[in-house]
């Protein structure tokens, strides 16, 4: 015998389909209305022509695009290096903060002091301190300003990421550590094989979110001299008294962020699904 839906069920399906069509039509209509109103309000504004020529000038966009792209390449390289090292630093600091016992007091205190101070300190000030303060010491072999600026970013973001990792570590139930220890695993082994894999999986979405924020903040290195995308755009704006290069840089940043945001959403969704499957 093959299954055929009863008349009652067929009615339900038909009703739900009608409801879906109605919702879609309603959503399309309201989008069209809002879009039209916005377009009319903006393009009909008395100053629209001037805004259009100073923010959306195609020639200016074409002229400064290569410089901005060169800058963006610096942003991208900085992002990869800074994100990798800041994640590593954050993980190490978070693990150090979980160590128990009086022997580890200095390590723990140092790690705690670090996360407290560098989360409070504005990134701009840290960049100034590193990029101008350290060369000021006139020591032999002081690295390039670019390296110093990157170090400032890594050390500041490391403090944030350490707290995210720590939240993840603490979210793993103590019974998991008890189970690992009862099998004879040492604290280190329990941490490495049982706690950290679960902790990192749980905090992957906020970690990636911080990486998206980092992508914009690496540009602050231009305060120390290196020319990133925003700085390149700023130079263009200053030369022509036209704001279009900013718009170009902004669009490029959004495009750059899209893949990372997509990955974040995907990871978050997967984590949520796994958790629901577990209950």
């Amino acid at each position: 015998m093959t299954y055929a839906p009863s008349t009652r069920q067929q009615e339900r399906i038909a009703y739900r389909r009608r409801q879906t069509i109605r919702s879609v039509l309603l959503a399309a209509l309201s989008t069209a209305v809002v879009g039209t109103l916005l377009t009319v309000a903006i393009t009909g504004a008395p100053g629209w022509d001037r805004v259009k020529s100073s923010f959306f000038d195609l020639d200016a966009a074409r002229e400064y695009l290569p410089d901005i792209l060169t800058g963006l390449w610096l942003n991208l390289r900085l992002l990869v290096v800074c994100a990798t090292l800041a994640l590593a630093l954050g993980l190490v600091v978070a693990v150090l903060r979980t160590l128990r016992g009086p022997v580890f007091f200095p390590v723990r205190a140092l790690a705690t002091g670090y996360t407290y101070s560098f989360r409070g300190l504005p990134l701009i000030i840290v960049i100034y301190l590193y990029a101008f303060g350290i060369p000021g010491l006139r020591l032999q072999g002081t690295p390039d300003v670019l390296v110093l600026g990157a170090a400032a970013i890594i050390i500041t973001y490391g403090a944030y990421l350490a707290e995210v990792f720590r939240a993840g570590i603490e979210s793993v139930h103590p019974s998991q550590i008890a189970a690992a220890r009862s099998l004879g695993l040492s604290y280190r082994q329990a941490m490495r094989h049982v706690v950290l894999p679960q902790a990192v999986r749980r905090v992957a979405p906020p970690l990636l979110n911080d990486t998206v924020a980092l992508q914009k903040d690496v540009g602050l290195i231009s305060l120390a001299g290196p020319i990133d995308a925003i700085r390149a755009a700023q130079i263009g704006v200053a030369q022509d008294a036209n704001f279009t290069p900013y718009i170009v840089a902004g669009v490029l940043f959004v495009l750059l962020a899209l893949p990372l945001i997509g990955v974040t959403d995907w990871v978050t969704l997967r984590a949520a699904r796994r958790q629901n499957a577990g209950s």
């Binding site: 019974s175 690992a180 220890r181 009862s182 099998l183 004879g184 499957a277 577990g278």
Partner: protein, 246 residues
């Protein structure tokens, strides 16, 4: 004696859980700990596994004091298996990885050796086809059987079972109890905290009734469960019978 607890005291703040408790377990012996919630059954098992530090007394394993602060707890735990009420499998690992983790990391076996041993056990308990599955795909009874196998692959001298059937649906209790009975048949030395009086009767050589942080009464199951000496034991059993658990 495989296990020998003498005058063990354990407090949490002002709360005295174990108050001079003494208990000996001989080789191949199965001892069931019974008693009301909060009588210290689980605490005693956690103290024996050194997950909790005792506040006085001593615990010996094969004659060696394991509560000596100079002893290495990791080495001692390798010889004592502990199975928890809530299974505590590692959710990010497959069944096979859960089982082979300690043999590979702690006992330094090769992956092939550990896998072979794990598969032998899984086949024995009828879970071979679940080797690649994650714990959340298993029923409670299956998870608990995996947890027992995970403790057994370390070849422990002593297996501690902490209310291993309390979190299970009634129809899943049987499969776990059968497994424990088989282990008894092989001569495994076990201490189990339990609410299942019927099971204690079947599997235990000795039943110990915990009350006021001590073993108030211990002896063969027929005697302790059938004809207890102490008034407190009779009261406890009367409540259990009232609840329909005996």
């Amino acid at each position: 004696m495989v296990l020998s607890c003498t005058d063990v005291r354990k407090t949490f703040g002002d709360h005295v859980i174990l108050d001079g408790l003494s208990l000996d377990v001989a080789e191949h012996e199965v001892v069931a700990l019974i008693g009301a919630s909060g009588s210290g059954k689980s605490t005693l098992l956690r103290c024996v596994n050194l997950l909790e530090q005792i506040d006085d007394g001593e615990i010996r394993l094969d004659g060696t004091e394991i509560t000596d602060p100079r002893a290495d707890p990791d080495r001692i735990r390798q010889r004592i298996g502990l199975v928890f009420q809530s299974y505590n499998l590692f959710p990010h690992m497959t069944v096979l990885d859960n089982i082979t983790l300690a043999p590979i990391q702690v006992h330094r076996r090769t992956k092939a050796e550990a896998t072979e041993q794990a598969m032998t056990w899984l086949t024995r308990v009828g879970l071979a086809e679940k080797a690649g599955a994650y714990p959340d795909r298993l029923s409670g009874g299956q998870q608990q059987r995996v947890a027992i196998v995970r403790a057994l692959v370390n070849n422990p001298r002593l297996l501690l079972l902490d209310e291993v059937t309390s979190a299970l649906d009634p129809e899943l209790v049987g499969e776990v109890l059968t497994m424990i009975k088989d282990l008894k048949g092989e001569g495994m030395t076990m201490v189990l905290a339990t609410h299942e009086m019927g099971f204690a009767k079947q599997v235990a050589d000795r039943v110990a009734f915990l009350d006021g942080g001590k073993v108030l009464e211990a002896g063969p199951p027929e005697q302790v469960l059938g004809d207890p000496v102490e008034a407190r034991t009779r009261q406890f059993l009367a409540r259990i019978i009232e609840a329909g658990r005996l």
